[in-house]
Symmetry: C2
Subunit: 416 residues, 2 copies
Amino acid sequence: MLKLFYKLLLTFLIVNNTAWALENGLARTPPMGWMHWERFRCITDCKRFPDECISENLFKRTTDLLVDEGYLAAGYEYVIIDDCWLEKDRDNVTNKLVEDRYRFPSGLNHLADYIHNKGVKFGLYQDYGTNTCAGYPGVIKHMALDAQTFAEWDVDYVKLDGCYADINEMDQGYPEFGRLLNRTGRPMVYSCSWPVYQEYEGKLPNYEALKEHCNLWRNWNDIDDSFESVAQIMDYFSKNQDRIQPHAGPGHWNDPDMLILGNYGLSYDQSKLQMAVWSILAAPLIMSNDLAKVRPEIKEILQNRYVIAVDQDPLGIQGRRVLLRNKIEVWTRPITPVAANNQYSYAVAFVSRRADGAPYPTKFKLSDLNLNNKLGYTVTDLYDNNKNVGTYKPGHIFQTRVIPNGVTFYKFTALN
Amino acid sequence: MLKLFYKLLLTFLIVNNTAWALENGLARTPPMGWMHWERFRCITDCKRFPDECISENLFKRTTDLLVDEGYLAAGYEYVIIDDCWLEKDRDNVTNKLVEDRYRFPSGLNHLADYIHNKGVKFGLYQDYGTNTCAGYPGVIKHMALDAQTFAEWDVDYVKLDGCYADINEMDQGYPEFGRLLNRTGRPMVYSCSWPVYQEYEGKLPNYEALKEHCNLWRNWNDIDDSFESVAQIMDYFSKNQDRIQPHAGPGHWNDPDMLILGNYGLSYDQSKLQMAVWSILAAPLIMSNDLAKVRPEIKEILQNRYVIAVDQDPLGIQGRRVLLRNKIEVWTRPITPVAANNQYSYAVAFVSRRADGAPYPTKFKLSDLNLNNKLGYTVTDLYDNNKNVGTYKPGHIFQTRVIPNGVTFYKFTALN
């Protein structure tokens, strides 16, 4: 009898464990914030590069700028430390992770307090494997301890990378670390790098599991500071949209990687393009730049409330590239308001992949973009202060003129 | 006896013809100016695009801006009409070329006067073949007439494209048109597209002939509005520098195509990069942009007098890529002043082909860049108001930090 009881208990535990999901109630819309990697990489020489090295100073000044320059008010709420914040060795008594003592002299609790006192949330990087990508200690043999340490450091967001790890263990290991994070009782957004490493080795990620166990996940390549990199990521997301797009939704998001606006590699128009396409993709909007050096016209794009509203749309349906003609791509995303007849409104981005000098005039019939609300749509220009540019019905032709490697971006609000 | 005389005369004429060279005394430094193609292409719809269509209006307003915005004073002296200025048919009585009557209602003589009265010079496009690239009538069957017409229109600069032509006739035909231009008695800079069409069909251009017969020539691809395009052209010029570089000099220049600064596709740092590398290449500095819309910081690059001085250096020696290490390219160009010990000064551009976020710190020993003047060099930063950054000798290490897909650019002035 007791034997049967234990058998049942075991069955219950297994079922329960299998059915366990993150369900931390976080990231109901794609997370927004700032992370150091793309711009600051693994700069550790604070003598030579005092404003750029991965240190207390960088995250404090970024937090200040996030608040003072209006980014927090626009929705960017996380300041996230990426790789290269650790000492090379764990504490030799407690085995705990130790922040670099020279670069974080006041400790992470102090930094977390500083960030929290400004109304900002605190994110921290680790790696599922034996080492982080830059060679610092990973979590794999100390998962419970590290989850607990993260909670003690008042972390609000965890990015778990996948270097130096066995991709076949990830299906089990990433959920396990998520469970341990949850167990601490501290709500932490959980960002997984699990699928990208599997994709690299030719294994199709289990997106159903990702949805269950992660708030967001990196699907593919790290972004670099070039339009070429932005374009490659866009191409990956459009070519694979059938198997990627359906899995996004409140609490669980695909992540095409950071916004690189405000750095060196994008022109003004390419900056508008990344912001528009990322918002169509319901992407986390995590900037990586030097907030002290973002030009005013780029800051305006980053803080464009109409574009951010598309990204943060409460329906949480990821958009798709629906058409490609003469190197003009049309990306659409169903958004609120939903009309009484159950017709979605849409964000529609016309993206040029042309480089032939002159802005390209083009036109599309609404029904060819699957905009079929018989009562029509009010169209507003998201990059022109949401200006009304007319009312269109499914049979109407919408004309636009798109700058080379640029974008025009509209909201088609469904009429009742 | 008379027979012998004619034989001798014929021999003389043939020899003379073979030995004939352009020698028009023009383009002693690479031509500088503005041309419509990259930005404005073949826009002919003036109702829909009144500010952009290829018309009198475009060239008048560009001339005004060239003068009023300081470009002429900086050295940009030619305003050049590219393709799409012609009627589709020649005059049916005289066979003369006719400018588009709707878009150039006052005629080219009026436009030339307008341009000349502003102290600017006037350039015009034609094509060696039966048709221009956009399908307008080419010169091939009316070369003498067209050369004469160009002179009557007070043209100062001729770009002769090579669409719809037999590449095997070009070795003879391009020099012939140059001779006809010269014969008019009006000095006209002669820009040949001859080598690019031969390269496309796998025939090695005869650079010795080009030097003799053209003031400049397009070596390779048309430039487009993207950094990718700039980078491809740079790569072509570095990979082929052994056979291209030696042929440049006063009166005869390789042409990597237009400056695209001020348009949509280049970031600020990529703009500095194109300007620096083009000046190393002793390239014609022919902008193609909408001068009314060039941002102030880009205008500053276009008018940087230190960089322009490199481009216009009187020695006229084209530079080369001398080193590539960790995706940092070093381009150098021998320039004046030449020290008493016959050591050149150098313009040195450190060009990053990296996209990994953080500016890349790097260092080079001067002698590794063939900077061997034992007395050393005074180094000044061409993008920082020619600020002195120190004195270096051949054994010294020069350190710099280069922005992703950006450039640092210095003058190393040889000391006596």
